[in-house]
């Protein structure tokens, strides 16, 4: 089961040539396991779509290798790669019925007509669009087109399915239900999904593993928990979820972690593996808002004291922005039901409590 579906090694991509060449991807390395929901996540222009198009065969590689189940496929044209794509704007064939759209890949594979018919209907059933089989794409809504695109790409039983921001054109409600549906369909069919998105929430909810990209380079690959709880660098910490990025001075480094100086206090924190820090160095630290506790009133002693700047009600939670005596600003996210929080107003003194197991020293 633990078979490598996609192996990307040292992939670099230039557009143009000579001194005007633009580097879209820089030395990308990772492997995607068979049966994995793998997400390429990053802001627009980070190269995630280019990487997906390289896997699909729509772009060639400047340097590096691309293997699919051990086979070098970088010289195969798209129509000879056993991968199918769900395109961002669906790219349904407007002059064909929904059934013919879904059956297109099967027809191209030269399967017998009765099998094409049977499998197309089966796929339409899977995406719950059986009654639309005879219609044209122009007669469907955005969400329905999206599902047809999915059925069309799944029909030829690809080894790997590529999804290029397939949910970005849908409204929020539809997007949420499609996330669920996609995950379910993948579990049912048991094939590898490579999913491109700029929506970190979507990535966290759906993926088995996530590759975070920025400026054509890979920032971090890991499970949603790893990426969220142990971001390797400032970009990842900032891009995934909300966080407080603060500057600290490293005091001591030990096997279990480090102690740093922050706002006149000494805090213990964890350090990522393979990340070198030296005592005295100025580094960045990520503190998630939900890992900061708030107690109304200023306690004496060593506690971190702050003043409330503003309060934003979010439903189950409340965002409280506080300023420390040294000028830093921290945002805490606490449950609206927490004792005394609802009564806070700007200017009130509070005591902050940071969970040392949850804060991470970041690389650059």
């Amino acid at each position: 089961m633990n078979q490598t579906a996609i192996d990307i090694a040292g992939v670099t991509k230039f557009y143009g040539s000579g001194p005007d060449a633009v580097r879209a991807l820089h030395d990308i390395h990772f492997q995607i396991q068979h049966n994995e929901f793998f997400t390429l996540l990053g802001p627009s222009g980070c190269g995630k779509t280019t990487l997906l198009r390289i896997i699909g065969g729509f772009e060639d590689i400047s340097e590096g290798t691309l293997r699919l189940f051990g086979e070098d496929i970088q010289n195969l044209p798209p129509n000879r790669r056993p991968v199918n794509t769900v395109f961002q704007h669906y790219a349904l064939f407007p002059h064909m019925s929904i059934r013919d759209n879904v059956g297109f890949g099967l027809k191209m594979q030269g399967r017998p007509p009765e099998e094409i018919r049977r499998r197309s209907d089966q796929m339409l059933e899977l995406v719950r669009l059986s009654e639309y089989a005879g219609r044209r794409p122009s007669q469907l809504s955005g969400g329905q087109k999206q599902r047809v695109a999915l059925a069309r790409a799944l029909a030829p039983e690809p080894k790997v399915l590529l999804l290029d921001e397939p949910l970005s054109a849908l409204d929020l409600k539809l997007r949420q239900s499609m996330r669920h549906e996609l995950k379910q369909i993948r579990e049912e069919l048991g094939i590898t999904f490579i999913f491109v998105t700029h929506d970190q929430e979507e990535a966290l909810i759906m993926s088995d593993r996530i590759a975070v990209m920025s400026h054509g380079a890979l920032q971090q690959v890991g499970t949603p928990e790893e990426i969220y709880n142990h971001p390797l660098n400032r970009f990842v910490a900032d891009f995934i979820g909300e966080t407080n990025l603060v500057e600290v001075q490293v005091r001591e480094i030990s096997d279990s972690g480090a102690t740093v100086a922050f706002a006149g206090h000494t805090l213990a924190c964890s350090v990522n593996e393979n990340q070198a820090h030296e005592p005295g160095e100025i580094a960045h630290m990520s503190i998630r808002p939900e890992h900061i506790g708030i107690t109304p009133g200023e306690e004496k002693g060593d506690a971190l004291r702050a003043t409330v700047l503003r309060k934003i009600f979010l439903g189950t939670d409340i965002h409280v922005a506080c300023s420390l005596p040294t000028g830093e600003e921290l945002v805490a996210r606490v449950q609206s039901t927490a004792a005394g929080v609802a009564a806070l107003s700007p200017g009130d003194g509070v005591t902050l409590d940071i969970d040392p197991h949850r804060i991470v020293l970041l690389g650059d």
């Binding site: 129509n79 064939f93 407007p94 890949g105 044209r136 122009s138 790409a153």
Partner: protein, 308 residues
């Protein structure tokens, strides 16, 4: 995203001004498009006057002359007159061939232009249309000059030793075809270009992704989606080619008469026969209308299938 009130604003409010503003268009269409056809229709049923012009007396003589042969003195039993039908057939054939040639050359041209980067497309379109800023008569005469027996093309081929004798083109059907093809090529290129430019090439990526080869994608994805442009181009080439008289006259000579020249003759000087010219025009118009009718019906069934 227009609200319901927004769309009702223009449709539902009655305003007499609307009709006044439309009046100029109706007048132009009526006077310059409908009226001439009606005049022609009436004239085709009138009696010919010898110095040109007509006598206001109803007769079917013009149509009779076109289709039937009653002998030199008009007293023999009628046979089918093949002369004019032959000219007509030749015109249809030449126009059809010109359409096919324009399509064969025009489609790849349009495809090439439409797939250039947006910045260079307009330059290509401009290059295609440049010759058409010159009068058609002058271009046709220039063509005659180029392809005549001692014209530059023959001279060059002779001096290069590629041919032993000049290629004789003037006054042949080939020359007429060349003239038609050259005259109407842009009318094929431009509508197809417009259609391909609007075509969403991600459909081709989707086809390739689903294991279709390039030729399959061309025939089954691109062509069905740009068909309206192809049909428009064919109509724009076929119809004027059918009625063309400059190219057949100047390049084809008397033996390669086309229906356009026949009609032109009837209205020139005092030798003409106005009712006969009008009748030939009406027959030509009927053929064109039949072609357009079938196209319109074809399109109607297509769009109703697509559910627009």
């Amino acid at each position: 995203m227009a609200g319901p009130g927004n769309s009702r604003g223009f449709q539902g409010v009655f305003t007499p001004l609307r009709y006044w503003l439309l009046l100029p268009s109706w007048l132009v269409v009526g006077f310059f498009m409908v009226a001439p056809v009606l005049i022609m229709l009436v004239y085709s049923f009138l009696t010919k006057e010898f110095r040109g012009g007509v006598i206001w007396e109803f007769t079917l003589a013009a149509y009779d002359q076109f289709f039937l042969d009653r002998g030199l003195f008009g007293d023999e039993p009628p046979k089918i007159e093949w002369t004019y039908i032959g000219i007509f057939w030749r015109s249809v054939w030449q126009a059809g061939l010109a359409t096919v040639l324009c399509l064969l050359i025009g489609f790849p041209t349009a495809y090439y232009i439409a797939t250039r980067p947006p910045a260079t497309r307009n330059i290509w379109v401009f290059l295609v249309t440049i010759p058409y800023w010159v009068n058609l008569l002058i271009r046709t005469v220039s063509m005659k000059f180029l392809i005549r027996d001692n014209g530059p093309i023959n001279e060059w081929l002779l001096s290069a030793g590629l041919i032993a004798e000049p290629i004789h083109l003037i006054n042949t059907p080939v020359a007429v075809q060349l003239g038609l093809f050259y005259s109407y090529l842009p009318f094929m290129v431009l509508p197809i270009y417009a259609a391909i430019e609007r075509f969403d090439f991600s459909l081709c990526e989707a086809a390739a992704d689903l294991y279709a080869g390039r030729w399959f994608a061309l025939w089954h994805i691109i062509i069905p989606n740009v068909r309206p442009g192809i049909v428009a181009g064919c109509i724009l080439v076929f119809i004027p080619s059918l009625g063309a008289f400059l190219a057949p006259d100047l390049l084809g000579g008397a033996k390669n008469f086309m229906i356009g020249s026949l009609i032109e003759e009837q209205f020139k000087g005092t030798a003409g026969n106005w009712p006969f010219g009008a009748a030939a025009s009406m027959i030509l118009l009927s053929v064109v209308l039949v072609v357009l009718f079938f196209n319109a019906r074809n399109r109607a069934t297509q769009t109703s299938g697509a559910g627009h």
